[in-house]
Symmetry: C2
Subunit: 267 residues, 2 copies
Amino acid sequence: MNSPSFMDHLRVVLVATRNPLNIGAAARAMSNFGCTHLRLVNPYDPAYREAVSAVGAAPVLANAEQFPTVAAAVADCTLVVGTTAAGRRELHHQLCTLESAARLILRRLARQPAGRAKKNRVALLFGSEKTGLSNDDLSHCHWLLRIPTRLEHRSMNLGQAVAVCLYELARDPKAAAKFAHALKTDTPATAGEIERFTAVLTEALSASGFLDRRTVADADQRIRRLVRRLHLPHRDADMWTGIMRQIVWKLNATESSKPSPRKKPAS
Amino acid sequence: MNSPSFMDHLRVVLVATRNPLNIGAAARAMSNFGCTHLRLVNPYDPAYREAVSAVGAAPVLANAEQFPTVAAAVADCTLVVGTTAAGRRELHHQLCTLESAARLILRRLARQPAGRAKKNRVALLFGSEKTGLSNDDLSHCHWLLRIPTRLEHRSMNLGQAVAVCLYELARDPKAAAKFAHALKTDTPATAGEIERFTAVLTEALSASGFLDRRTVADADQRIRRLVRRLHLPHRDADMWTGIMRQIVWKLNATESSKPSPRKKPAS
């Protein structure tokens, strides 16, 4: 996937982030998913631009913008969405899961006025590692989203939360359906190919003495069912038949070179 | 969301992880999404159990199992899935996106034999930070999945990759649809409520002198359209009408208490 153009209108806003490594991690996830506009509100440590965890994220960090307040950081956005673990605090906002939030955000990002008109920018806010977004931060949001973590362990690592949110925005459900189809439809072997393999396998079972030792009436049917349960793919059918043919050849060659054929042990 | 029981049959397998902090980060994401079974193949640093990044993940780390080989780590699993950035190497496996992979994995996890029969366990493999899974590691996999990152920056941070994969497994598309519906259907105000507000607003515009200053023929219609574009929700309609009524009262009170009414400035 190339960076989709709708990501150009998304702003990831990290509010009061404490650990510069987390800013680097967020920037890396942004770069992974094609989102390049990072905004920082009052980061605790201005050394974030050197964050070592930011493999490949140098351009995102270099272009990061710094703001003194949330209001200033979201001033040019038409939709402001806060992220929350929705823990103890009473929330005064509508809260939706990440998945439905992503659909609403994508709809807004897709609805861009033509020409030079003011663009529909969307801000996605993440709070500090310790306390998340404050009630004052949240008051700037139109609504909130929650990543569906366990109720017993809601709070995610900041960089991981950013990665999960951007993944949900970047994934393409249509592409997924296509791939799932491709995976399911690995062309299976034809009945003829399966039958050829079954025949050689039966020869091998016989030549190896495997069949002799069991007195089973419907041995052929049992072998046929056994092979069909394999779901042999078309592209491997000849290979398997060849392998078994070689085994049969070797079994027979060994048998005929022996001075006296080995007999089935008496049972 | 509580930890869904199907997660009990999932094994996250980290192969040759270098940085113990990444093991801690993976464990935290596992705990967030209700997956408790971590397996480690040859971690470089056995100090991982003390990983400081593992907020809330101590139980996962304490129960982590260590294995000398990939073969041993996946021996009891019926489906083994590798993760890859699908970069320079030629892959000999079928590759699908995370989203379709998750549907296939969930289907397998849901299909559990009754009683004490051997369970369908699924192993999800993650390679080392530097090189990912080796070709030898990959040969143990049934197929591979790829997180849909940008082609120009494919490789994700290990903990973030684990978080994104487990999020995709844990999210509940049905719950999402429900929430999206709830968000969209915030009950709008009735026409009557809107009209009541419009009437008081018009009074306020008039009392404030706003209407006097503009000579617009269809002022009433313009105000009506202006109010309808607000999408006033039902639960806030009375509040807005009350606010405006208070403003009208104050405007009139101020006006009548003045010795001489202020006139429209000549223009």
